[in-house]
Amino acid sequence: MQTEMSLWSYANPTRFMATTRPLLPWLSALAAACLVVGLIWGFFFTPDDYRQGSTVKIIYLHVPSALMAINAWFMMLVASLIWLIRRHHVSALAAKAAAPVGVTMTLVALVTGAVWGSPMWGTWWAWDPRLTSFLILFLFYLGYMALWAAIEDPDTAADLTSVLCVVGSVFAVLSRYAVNFWNQGLHQGASLSLDAEENVADVFYFPLLVCIAGFVLLFVALVLARTRTEIRARRLHALQLRERMA
């Protein structure tokens, strides 16, 4: 047993695997519980909105997925920086593992937004700043994943994708402001914030919080599971190489 424990000790793949193995089933179960409770509560036990009718209920999917789409990229940025600075393999693999989850969240947010926009705005798609920004974020995810897929050597791939992630983050923020400059939109302002007075009624707010918690847990569980898979794949590859050498 190590005497000095720090956060960085989890960068050891063996320790990471040992810690996450018992953790993963609990996290997954908790994520499933939150999602089931939150979605059923939201879909069946909240009243219809007086203006939007039952279409308002799509926020239980739309808001959490949109939130996680951005946070997943942010997590990839942090993981990429940790890889570039401290060169912990688990960090690079976690960034790789998060990308497909993030792109799925982005797609869910875009599709649920379109489904909601069709009856409410009368159009599936509008070149609104927020919508456009999400589409651009989607393209950033695609480029990032394509770069991972294109490079054979895993360390080179980790380095180059990390650099792309850092530069891409700057340009993603820049695009957000540029798009704002380019077109004023239809999309309502932020509905949730910690400091301002909330403008979502409590009946919708609490199930929404449960759904957000569910999506966060789902994201963490998926990324952990995918990182474990990546570590196993890496070990398998190393074993196969050793076998071929012998």
């Binding site: 651009i136 080179t156 792309l164 850092v166 530069v167 540029a178 380019w182």
Partner: protein, 218 residues
């Protein structure tokens, strides 16, 4: 750095360097647009700034995969990496050479192509100005993308996928300057923002490009 720059420019301008290709591509894109949307000036004039910016952007993209690939094939890139000039300087010189052989001629040719699309006369100057200010950013971003994909076998298509999302801010501000210029509106803010994007790219991207090159050369 100056030597690398003049060497790259010379290589591009001489026979087989493909100097005229970007310009020809730009011309063809602009000529094809009326076939797609119809020849009426009422249709063409409002979209002319956007079309010209898009055409210039795609023409810039065409020559990007050659920025580092040829030097890598003949080993010159390894020599440049061990040269007394820091790799950041090499990256900046490469981007400068790319701009001198694509961005600059494209900017100068754009007003003539604008005539073809029926852009109102006051817009010509501002179109050229917006391209002159914006295309260095395109070259710098493109050089970064080229550094990321230099070691790859099928880097060309991937390069477009990586670079095009990064072009979004430049395109938005650049096309906005050109559009406002044509309509005679105030264009200070977008022009300033376009300049800011270019200045930021000049200041920061050579470091990212050099970092990517070091990984690729390892």
């Amino acid at each position: 750095m100056i030597r690398i720059l003049s060497r790259d420019v010379a290589l591009a301008v001489r026979a087989g360097g493909g100097f005229g290709l970007s310009l020809a591509f730009f011309l063809i894109v602009v000529v094809l647009v009326p076939f797609g949307v119809g020849p009426e000036t009422a249709v063409l004039a409002p979209i002319a700034p956007g079309i010209l910016w898009l055409g210039a952007l795609l023409a810039c993209l065409l020559s990007l995969d050659r920025v580092f690939a040829l030097d890598r094939e003949d080993g010159a890139l390894d020599l440049l990496a061990t040269a007394p000039v820091p790799l950041e300087g090499v990256a900046l010189a490469k981007a400068g050479a790319h701009w001198l052989t694509t961005g600059l001629p494209l900017s100068l040719a754009a007003p003539f192509l604008a005539v073809l699309l029926g852009l109102p006369a006051p817009g010509h100057l501002w179109l050229a100005v917006s391209l002159l200010v914006g295309t260095p950013a395109l070259s710098l971003i493109g050089t970064f993308g080229a550094a990321l994909t230099v070691g790859l076998k099928r880097g060309g298509l991937l390069l477009s996928l990586l670079v095009l999302p990064l072009y979004v801010p430049t395109l938005i501000f650049g096309a906005d300057v050109a559009r406002r210029g044509a309509e005679g509106l105030a264009l200070g803010p977008p022009l300033a923002l376009l300049g800011a994007v270019t200045a930021g790219c000049v200041a920061l991207l050579p470091f990212a490009t050099a970092a990517a090159l070091r990984v690729s050369l390892r």
